[in-house]
Amino acid sequence: MTPPADRDESEQTLTNDQERPVTNMGDDSTQLSARLGRFDRSLSGRMRAARRRLVSALFGDRIGLTLFLGVVLALSLCWRVGFFITDTYAIANTVVNVAKGHFNIQQIEYSLTLGSQPGLYRNGSQVFGRNYAVAILSVPFYWILEGASSLVELRLALAAGWSLLAAGFASQLGHVLDKRQVAFWGTLIALGVFVCNVWLARPLDPHWTALLALQVSTVLAAGVVAVALYRLLGELHDRRVGVAAGLLSTLSLPVAFWATIPKRHVVSAALIAVIVCAFALSRHPKRSSLVRASAYAAVAILAWLHAAEALVVFVVLVPVDLATAPRNDWRTLSIVAAVFALSLAPFVVTNLAVTGSPFETPRMLDSLGSAGQIDPNGRVSIKPEEPPTTPTPTTPSEPTTPGPTDPGTAPPPDQDVGPLGWFIGLIDGLVATGAAVLAAVPGRLGRLWEFVDEGISIVLGDPERLGHVFFRSGRVPGVKYGINQQEAIELTVLESAPILGVLVAAPLLWGRRMLAATRESLRAVPAAIRTNPRYQTDLLAGGIVVMFTLLYLPRLPLYSQITMRYLVPAMPVALYGVARIPAVRRGLDENFQEFLRAYAAASVIGIVGVVAAFDWIEPALGEAMQFHALLNLVVAGLTIAVVVVAIVREDQKGVATAIGAAGGAGTTLFVLSGVEYFTYGQFTYPIVRWLSELLPVF
């Protein structure tokens, strides 16, 4: 493969900005026309420059943009309109209510049954949702979809959106590969898909817009994961390694499974990937402090999304960042602190509005449980006699940063006082907030440490449990299978992400380095960490993966995880670790074409082969998932073997192919589970529905 060329400089716009003065006009008008032409050119030049700057800031370069579009288009093919997991009802209802301008849930748009739903909480007489970050981020898409559905048939608007994006992707890919035919044929395929979608279309009820908006935001978040991994490895190594990691992180990790479900784990994954990427970029002394600050901004947004996850990442980020940053002068640090504080605003404002305390999240409220009632019009109220008790048993609860023992501070009451009183009230409020933070932080860190401590004791003392989380599932003792009709659909990390198995080669690598180490080279290690952004990023990535896993380990294994979804946010960072193994990154760099071929071939052969095998075995759902589990374990084993041999022989032959194959095995699982195994709702795109009906599996 020719190295992907970034052709931004030579790009041409569709519109011709050469001014052609109309003949037989007076001097004035010729001059005016010429001046207008210059203005037009400079405007279009400025537009181009602005667009280039925007693409460069958001995606790194054109390849990043192409990767983003490709991943989003591919993942959205498995998009279904419907509720896969009961938690999503409350979040989709939150979108509807937030879009109407209030935090509390007054109107239930989506409901499985009359009565309450998991993920609703109460504060006094008001009902609130669990997660406002995803809901608020989805509100713009909700408005767009509402607008579209009021004008045109929603299904056709979505089909049009996909095909237009696909044409954009084809055009970008044509530029990247420097092949105009790619753009031409890609556009024709997009047109063909649109015609087929219109041909097969059935109406889509506009009442789904809030759920669709949530799904749009999680699919875009998956695209962000790919771009962050691409930029991260492009910065530290090579853009080809970056493209490979970007593709694998979204299409071969369970990010693919959860992107359209929609679950917030994908948004967490995107933010954590952005944190690691911004950290790596900011190790370069010439980069602006804003890049470094953006890592902290992502932590703040993560806090809004899930406070415990943000805290655990923050605890790793701060020491590693301070120890390895190129500059720690007061100016840089104050920029970082200011950006962090500003980015915390959505978190604090949401908490104040929902719980009345800046650092107490909605999750810390009492669950609404059975106390809520929904009238036939969807209006919510709380039964007065019911005490706020038992959480609904269908959602596994996740670790939250637990509530402080003190009640926290309520916002200052609204009283009609003079300006002085108002000022005193403001100071009072600020002091109280500061005091609440100081009081709450040690408690939160203490509880966090309890989780991590419990996780450590599981790692050290309960290898069987660890095996059921990371290695082999089958029917895991202690997991409530009754919820899923006794089907063994809960896979482990390795079974759902075989590519991550390659990480076990890392200790071998360290072992070899240790054996080869001399006293001088050992002495050089701290200096290497101090000066090399790669080692610094390894430190951060390793810390995040370990701490994140320890945080959730006390809750795992658990039902309704399918792919160990609590650990999904750390999986792209773990994939960074895979790509950092020298044999892997050299293999991907030197044999990029082999990697792409192996990935595509393994995906196609995997999908066709598994469908053919299932035609013969006729498996039940649980058997189908466990078949994939065993297949993925075998693939992971072979890939590990290839990588280990490559490390020992110091020759990366075959590594790119093995990595591609392991990626393809993951993709096979996610494509077939998205299209065939888990049937709920209806496909968004009619053409996928038609294809799915052709497959004779279930």
Partner: protein
């Protein structure tokens, strides 16, 4: 100002074609024109009837066998039902049902009849935890019905002795 369509390359033409197709479809389906481009008629149950000439369900294949690939449960295995439809009017559906009262199982799959001719109705195997099984065999019933808003009749009704293999 414009050189005309002739000066555009094939990619730009394809892009224009796509945009034109999108605009035309969206405008025609919009509330201003109100042309219905989506088909909803054949997706829901309606009045009607169908004549069934043959039903084939291998009742002896209804069995309880151990789950494979480490699932560690037993499965009630249910074969597909093959049904031949001769005459079709309206939108009736097929209901394929397997009941095992002793196991508290009542499983059903439905399929709208779109066209006359042979059709297959699939019913997923049902997983049973080890502690749910305490006998060597169970009595069950397999039925196939043609159902619509105006009619409902049974075209296949057989009892099955379901053997448990362990």
């Amino acid at each position: 100002m414009d050189k005309g369509i002739g000066s555009l390359g094939p990619t730009e033409l394809a892009q224009l074609l796509l945009i034109a197709a999108v605009v035309v479809v969206l405008v025609f389906s919009s509330s201003f024109v109100g042309l219905s481009l989506t088909q909803s008629e054949s997706t829901s149950l309606g009045d009607g009837n169908a004549t069934v000439t043959a039903v084939s369900v291998d009742v002896t294949a209804v069995q309880i066998t151990p789950g494979r690939f480490g699932t560690d449960v037993s499965y009630l295995r249910i074969p597909d039902a093959q049904i031949d439809i001769d005459d079709l009017e309206g939108q009736p559906r097929l209901v394929y049902r397997v009941e095992v009262p002793a196991l508290d199982l009542d499983l059903a799959a439905t399929k709208l009849i779109q066209n006359p001719g042979p059709t297959t109705v699939r019913l997923s195997d049902a997983a049973l935890a080890a502690d749910q099984l305490d006998a060597d065999s169970y009595e069950g019933r397999v039925t196939v019905r043609v159902q619509s808003l105006s009619s409902d009749y049974t075209v296949f009704n057989e009892s099955a002795t379901i053997e448990v293999t362990s």
